[in-house]
Every structure is written in structure tokens, then in C-alpha cells.
């Protein structure tokens, strides 16, 4: 499926396929993070199947757009997207988290083709993204850098160090997408560590902010298109999402942040995603 030919209906079908992979992989592994993977599905689908200029057969292509999964526990989603775009066989997804697999529990740059950055300790991806974006500027390259963060991840101080620096350096080739599903491990953001007003915070740090429904592909694609036109400042896309989106008993259920579905739960989930 060439990315220029994909319709939004095609993308919705892709999103469903990625959701099915997330369920199947985590169930097979017996561990992993389905909730935050499911909430970011449309964002990653839009990026990998429409927005990113990349060559799955040539993962280190110098002019590729960079995608950095800073909310690294969504690894199953990233792996599903990498497999569906041709970085690896789809069959390899069932090796997630198994010894000697290329698919580590959290993304490992040294293991998996297409993984830009070793992450998993939260808050580090945006800083790395600034470096990659600065290198593009120094080399007069036109690639763009996309960093996906969790909202809970925004508790980390380094995120705000990076937010300040990206605006200071006027990184208009850098886009941060914040998956705002409002849930983190210990509960709702507002109970654990209040982040609001989140869009105002990014604005105050000097970012151009776009808010979207993070499950509406048309809105997401429009936001990425708009971000390309922003000059002189980085763009933050605050994507309002639902944790566990697409599986009724996982939606807004924080239990599935870091717990794999049982075989029975996986079967129920896959029926819903048929």
C-alpha cells in the first residue's frame, strides 16, 4: 500500500490491524503495555502510513524523517507499525519480549531496524529529538523529527528542559505529539500529578500548539500538515485520546497500562476488533 494512495478508510483498516497486533503480541508475551499502545494507534498510523518519509528497506536512509517513541512502553504499537510497513516480517511480532528476540520490552536502537532511539526511562526522547533536528539544520537536510510523548511522561523535568530548549533554538522541524489519555500508572493525571492546563504550558514554553481528537485520523493528519507550515517555533500536538481505545474492557481502565490480556481476554478483544 503506497502511502500516497491510502485513503482515510485504508488508514482506519491499518489502525485496526495494529490494534489486533498489540493484543496478540502482548497476550503471547504474557506481559507488556496494551493500554498506552492502543491510545496512540491513530497517531502512529498517520505517521508511518502517510506523514513520514522513510524507507523500510533502508532504515538508516540519511534523509528519513525521524520518529522517536519517547513513551517507550508503547513498544508493541511501534513494532506493529514497523512490521506492517516492512521493516521486519509480521510473524516476528509474536517474539515480543522473548529471549534473543529483536523486539525488546522497550525499544532498543541496537536491536530493531527502524527504532531511532533506545528509550524506556521516560523523559529522554524530546532532548534526543532536538539533537536530531539540530543536525538536520547544520547539514541543510529537510527531514523532520517527530517525538511521541505520554502525558504522564510530562511529569519528568527533562521534558520541560527540552521544551524550553526546542523553543529557544526555534526548532520548526520538530513536532512533539502528546498522547493525552489522562491516565498514568497510579491513576488519573489530575490525581497523581496535575498537568493542566497542559496546552497552555506548552504554549507558555514557546510552542505552537494544536489540539486534536487523537482517534480522528483526519484531524491528526490536518495537524501534521499545519505543523509543517509553522516557522520559527516547534509544534506540540496535544492528542486527546482514550487509554485502551478500541477494546471495551480496556478503555479508561488503568489496569491494562502494564498488564497483558489473558488468552480469554485477548480472544474477546480480537472479536471486538474483527
Amino acid at each position: 500500500m503506497g502511502k500516497d494512495q491510502t485513503t482515510n478508510q485504508d488508514l482506519e483498516a491499518v489502525a485496526k490491524t495494529l490494534r489486533r497486533h498489540i493484543i496478540t503480541m502482548t497476550a503471547a508475551a504474557g506481559s507488556g503495555h496494551p493500554g498506552g499502545s492502543l491510545s496512540s494507534v491513530e497517531i502512529v498510523t498517520a505517521l508511518f502510513f502517510r506523514v513520514l518519509r522513510h524507507r523500510p528497506s533502508e532504515p538508516h536512509w540519511a534523509d528519513r524523517d525521524r520518529f522517536i517513541l519517547s513513551k517507550a512502553h508503547a513498544a508493541p504499537l511501534l513494532y506493529a507499525a514497523l512490521a506492517e510497513t516492512g521493516y521486519m516480517p509480521v510473524g516476528e511480532l509474536c517474539t515480543l519480549r522473548k529471549l534473543d528476540s529483536r523486539l525488546q520490552g522497550h525499544p532498543d536502537k541496537t536491536c530493531t531496524p527502524g527504532v531511532e532511539m533506545t528509550c524506556g526511562s521516560l523523559g529522554q526522547g524530546l532532548s534526543f529529538g532536538i539533537g536530531a533536528a539540530l543536525a538536520a539544520r547544520l547539514n541543510s537536510q529537510t527531514y523532520r523529527v517527530y517525538v511521541l510523548l505520554g502525558d504522564g511522561e510530562c511529569d519528568e523535568g527533562q521534558v520541560w528542559e527540552a521544551a524550553m530548549a526546542a523553543a529557544h533554538f526555534k526548532m520548526d522541524n520538530l513536532v512533539a505529539i502528546i498522547d493525552h489519555n489522562e491516565l498514568q500508572i497510579d491513576g488519573w493525571n489530575r490525581q497523581v500529578m496535575n498537568l493542566e492546563p497542559l496546552p497552555d504550558k506548552w504554549r507558555a514554553f514557546g510552542w505552537y500548539v494544536i489540539e486534536v481528537n487523537g482517534h480522528d485520523l483526519a484531524q491528526i493528519l490536518a495537524a501534521f500538515a499545519q505543523a509543517e507550515k509553522v516557522k520559527g517555533q516547534p509544534t506540540a500536538i496535544i492528542a486527546h485520546t482514550i487509554k485502551g481505545k478500541g477494546v471495551s474492557f480496556m478503555e479508561n481502565n488503568v489496569d491494562f497500562h502494564g498488564k497483558a490480556p489473558t488468552p480469554e481476554e485477548a480472544e474477546r478483544a480480537l472479536k471486538e476488533l474483527a
Binding site: 532511539m117 533506545t118 539533537g131 543536525a135 528542559e161 524550553m164 530548549a165
Partner: protein
């Protein structure tokens, strides 16, 4: 070996960066609001577009350096040693060491010879932290001549580097013909009764101690172990075999630095009596550098004492 003059390793670092910057357009430099102290200001003046002051945000600086390195740059990132390692340990681990990015952390103000600023600025555990990171090369140059060479080798060698420099001007102890070889100890003085293995500013003190000891009939070998990781195992085993007593000297805690690393080699390959001239399990106080080096036992006299005691333990 005669002391010729005092010279600042930081200043040599800054000047070497400028020279490297002229030779290689891929060299970029980052700092965290300390460029006047780390001397990266020289590079900043010459190449403003390749210099990134990240403000007082060291963790972010390491991440940006990693991103630049992953995109084809050779990134030199500088701040004080205590912040470079302690504050950024996880960033060094995840963003630099594991992905083996070409980030060269050149940390200045290592050790307690920073002096009056006190414990918050005394890096006494940085070598232990840096050495604990898989894939990191760790180097402590002994003087300005070695510093210039180490910086060049770091730029020319793939992978993560930690280079520890001090704040003080230090005596030039190495000759102009000195050749730093990564991973190889330099034998600065031959001897048969004991070996003193030192790094950084303790090398000059080791030479002084060896000179004094020779007048008392104890003939010491002195090794400049500037590369702490990977360690020159061969030189250590040879020293153990031929001199049968080893004393290490470093401006670092007794645990986890040069002494620990050397002991690990000695017990595995050729067990001989050892002693450690280093900071004991304490934080240092404010004071002048000389007062602190004296108070915490980092002197030629302490090395002499340690050598004598160790020689007595020889079988």
C-alpha cells in the same frame, strides 16, 4: 621527571576543540551554562553555529548531544564532573552508552581540588559512575600535554567517552615527545621494589614520592594510568610480577575508581600486596585545593607511607 611549568588542562581542552573544529565540520560542542569555566567558550566564539548552550539543564544537554551524534555529528558535551555524571547518569546510560553514540563527555572540575565550593562541586565518585556504564571509555589525563592528545583521540575514536579534567593548573610532567595511547599505561619511571599506579593530578605526586623513596633506597616504578577503562591489564600484571607491590593514587573515592579497578586485575592475575591512596568514605569540606589535598591524604607523603607499608607486606 622535572616540572617545567604549570598549565591548565581546561584551557588546552578549549583550544584543542577549536583546532578540531577547523579540521572537522562534524565536531559540535554543547555546554550547560559553564562555557567560561569549561573553556568551551573558545569554540563558541569561533563556531557559534556549532555550539549549543543548553542552559542549566545538563540532562537535556546529554540528550541533545546524543541526537546530534546519532545524526552524524561528533558531540563534545561539557560541564562540571559532578553534574556530568551524577546528575546525568540515566541519560548517559540510556541515551549515550547503550546506543553507543559518539558523545564525548569532557567533564571539568573533577575531584576535590575544585576547593572552596564544597561538597556539591566535589566529584569524588564520577569515575566509578562513568566506569560502570557499559561501552564507555574513561580517561583521566595527567597534564595539559596529555589532555590535548586525549581530546584528539576521543574525537577520532568511535563511541562514548568520559574525560575527566581538573580545575587547577597542573605541572607539565610529560615530555613533548609523549605519545598517549588509548588503553595503555605509560611507564614514567622504572623500578623494582614497588609500583605506583596513578592518574590525573596524582601522577605528579607519585613521581615526587618515587623520587623521595629512591633516596631512601626504595626503587619505585611509576605508571600513568590515564585510561581507566579499558584498563591496561598487561602493564598491571607485569608490575605485580616484577615489583610485587602496588600502590594506586587517585583524586577519587577509594571505592570504584582506579584503585578498585587495578585491584580487580591484581587479584585475578597476580595477587600481591596493595594499598590505595584515595579519599576514604567521606564527603570533603570547603577549603583551598592544597588544604583539601592535604586533609584528605592526596599527597606525595601519603604515597610514600603507603609504599613503605606495602613493601613490608611482600612475601
Amino acid at each position: 621527571m622535572k616540572v617545567r611549568e604549570q598549565s591548565s588542562t581546561r584551557e588546552v581542552y578549549g583550544k584543542t576543540l577549536v583546532a578540531l573544529g577547523k579540521e572537522n565540520p562534524d565536531i559540535v560542542v554543547l555546554d550547560a551554562d559553564l562555557s567560561k569555566s569549561t573553556m568551551t567558550q573558545f569554540f563558541a566564539r569561533e563556531f557559534p553555529h556549532r555550539f549549543f548552550d543548553c542552559g542549566i539543564a545538563e540532562q537535556n544537554m546529554i540528550g541533545i548531544a546524543a541526537g546530534l551524534a546519532a545524526s552524524g555529528k561528533i558531540a563534545f558535551a561539557s560541564t562540571f564532573a559532578v553534574f556530568a555524571t551524577g546528575r546525568c547518569y540515566d541519560q548517559l546510560r540510556m541515551s549515550v552508552a547503550q546506543p553507543r553514540h559518539d558523545v564525548k563527555v569532557v567533564a571539568t572540575h573533577g575531584g576535590i581540588s575544585v576547593g572552596e565550593d564544597g561538597l556539591s562541586h566535589h566529584s569524588i565518585e564520577d569515575l566509578a559512575l562513568a566506569c560502570s556504564l557499559p561501552g564507555f571509555t574513561v580517561v583521566v589525563p595527567a597534564d595539559a600535554i596529555e589532555t590535548a592528545q586525549v581530546i584528539r583521540v576521543a574525537a577520532a575514536t568511535r563511541g562514548p567517552f568520559y574525560v575527566r579534567l581538573g580545575r587547577l593548573k597542573t605541572p607539565l610532567i610529560l615530555g613533548d615527545d609523549y605519545q598517549f595511547v588509548l588503553g595503555e599505561a605509560a611507564t614514567l619511571r622504572q623500578g623494582i621494589d614497588a609500583t605506583i599506579i596513578a592518574c590525573g593530578l596524582m601522577v605528579a605526586r607519585a613521581l615526587e614520592a618515587a623520587e623521595n623513596l629512591s633516596q631512601q633506597g626504595i626503587d619505585c616504578r611509576v605508571l600513568n594510568m590515564s585510561t581507566i577503562k579499558p584498563l591496561d591489564i598487561e602493564a598491571i600484571v607485569l608490575a605485580a610480577n616484577e615489583t610485587e607491590a602496588i600502590v594506586t593514587a587517585e583524586e577519587h573515592l577509594e571505592h570504584g575508581g582506579l584503585g578498585s579497578k587495578v585491584a580487580q586485575v591484581v587479584v585475578q592475575h597476580w595477587a600481591v600486596p596493595m594499598a590505595f591512596v584515595a579519599i576514604k568514605d567521606v564527603f570533603a569540606k570547603s577549603g583551598t585545593p592544597d588544604e583539601l589535598l592535604q586533609r584528605y591524604g592526596l599527597t606525595a607523603a601519603e604515597i610514600e607511607k603507603a609504599v613503605k607499608a606495602t613493601v613490608l607486606r611482600k612475601k
